[in-house]
Symmetry: C2
């Protein structure tokens, strides 16, 4: 035990993006004993993180000492900005540090970031996440990861702190993001299908509670149905994951598909429903609010309305 303790090195990590996912990851890594600096454009989130035991020192004062940087930002543009923008961290990170990139991006973008990081002797782990804000707070996310063995080795202490399951999907960036886009296609379609089915059921006299009770035990069930139908039943659209996330993520899926000359009509039909929800002003509501698109079209009343 004594020798192990002596050989332990305190990890230094920075988390970029303290939204619902990033804040939970930052807290989980903090709990593991690492020194964690958290950053967000929303200064209140940084203050909250400091209040809960984290740090938010000026990035230039700590970047050269980091072992890892976890990016939990919205998209590819924000990822690139943190890494290579005006005050990008990659040129200032020490050799051997690892970037753990969690945003949903295209496989091609992930491969590009990996090669640009390597030019600075910085490792890159393509590491999109799945599991929602509750699992993020518990350090129990799933990570769809790909990267070099060196990148996995350098990322391991941070991954262990944030994730329950790490899928190791390949020895270079891209495979993680590919699997994430496949998962998002399905998850986004399944929420829209659930919304379509629960409202269709209402037109036929099927009560939403009964819908969940029966369908969750039948062949029509999905993980998303069991997770999101309760929001509709409770009339609670507090955004665990917002409608706007699916405009972004299904948009990424369809961009990738187009590049591959692949038609994804079911995904397109689901995206159209999220777009209609956003046009109704529901973009910031929980994604289960896509049910309101159907309810308005058919003149139905949802629970809580």
């Amino acid at each position: 035990m004594g020798i192990c303790a002596l050989s332990q090195i305190t990890m230094k990590t920075a988390i970029f993006g303290l939204g619902s996912m990033g804040f939970g990851i930052a807290k989980s890594v903090l709990k593991s004993g690492a020194i964690v600096n958290g950053y967000d454009v929303n200064k209140k989130a940084e203050e909250q993180f400091v209040a809960e035991g984290g740090q938010s020192e000026p990035i230039d004062s700590i970047v050269a000492e980091l072992n890892s940087a976890v990016l939990v930002v919205l998209n590819a543009a924000q990822t690139e900005d943190v890494l290579f923008g005006d005050n990008g961290i990659v040129p200032k990170l020490p050799a051997g540090a690892v970037v753990i990139a969690c945003a949903t991006v295209s496989p091609a973008f992930a491969r590009d970031m990996e090669s640009r990081c390597l030019e600075h002797d910085v490792l890159y782990l393509d590491a999109p996440i799945s599991g929602g804000s509750k699992k993020a707070a518990e350090g129990a996310l799933s990570v769809m990861a790909s990267g070099t063995q060196n990148a996995f080795d350098a990322a391991r202490p941070t991954l262990n702190a944030m994730a329950e399951t790490v899928f190791e999907l390949g020895d270079g960036a891209g495979s993680g993001s590919a699997m994430k886009s496949v998962n998002q296609l399905l998850a986004g379609v399944h929420i829209a299908a659930m919304a379509e089915a629960i409202t269709f059921g209402i037109t036929q006299g099927v009560q939403p509670e009964k819908f969940l009770q029966v369908i969750s035990q039948c062949a029509g069930t999905s993980w998303m149905l069991e997770n999101r139908a309760p929001h509709i039943i409770d009339g609670d659209y507090t955004p665990h994951s917002a409608v706007n996330i699916w405009l972004k993520d299904l948009g990424i899926v369809l961009d990738i598909a187009q590049t591959a000359n692949f038609d994804a009509p079911v995904t397109q039909s689901a995206l159209d429903q999220y777009k209609s929800a956003a046009q109704m002003g529901l973009g910031q509501e929980d994604d289960a609010a896509v049910a309101k698109v159907y309810a308005r079209q058919a003149g139905l009343t949802l629970p809580g309305e």
Copy 2:
């Protein structure tokens, strides 16, 4: 025990439709100790049932003694024909016998059948089934049932023999069929979404085996994905449930939706993919063959091809 044995009456049941579901139901009811006559337009199925211990006596010689008649036919037209066609059974059934109607039909059709049966003092249980041919053979189906208390009481011995779970959804016909159509909407969409996702994944280097291994543990999973993706991975399109079933069932869903002025665009997009599969000559293959529509469009090779 002796008194119970003396009070037992041997149930007499007829099963109409000895396809993959009906044959399993017929065998399950037979195992329960009932006298079971099985009927199908395919005489080989009747012969097979007799070879396995069942009967297939001329219907007119046994109809007046039946306690229950289970209809496991394709659709509303066949249901109506068995009940009220040229040689329809309802006018010949004894008072208090129960029709257990398992085909996927509209709620309005189920209500109509119930009231027409009642004119002949025949009970009607709206009883669509879920679970596939394997569960049918095991007597372990789920039944989405609605009907009068008398109909449930009369149907109970037969239901117990064929089902593991009986959802009691209301005191009149219609509610069972409504729930079934909701389930079929979801199940049909989920198979098409799985096919879209697994083939999209192939364009991004995601191997089908890896797709199943990872996604089945993530938010993108569904019951249908876990059940049908293995067919694609194995390249085995032996029809457990055929493409043509979804042309029928999603068509019924959209017919009901139209009557309710309800738009179901995700369902429509899935149905269009099954139509494309049928146009490619795949109507009799397992429904997972809808993946071939995507593969052909994008020039991909599926496992086993």
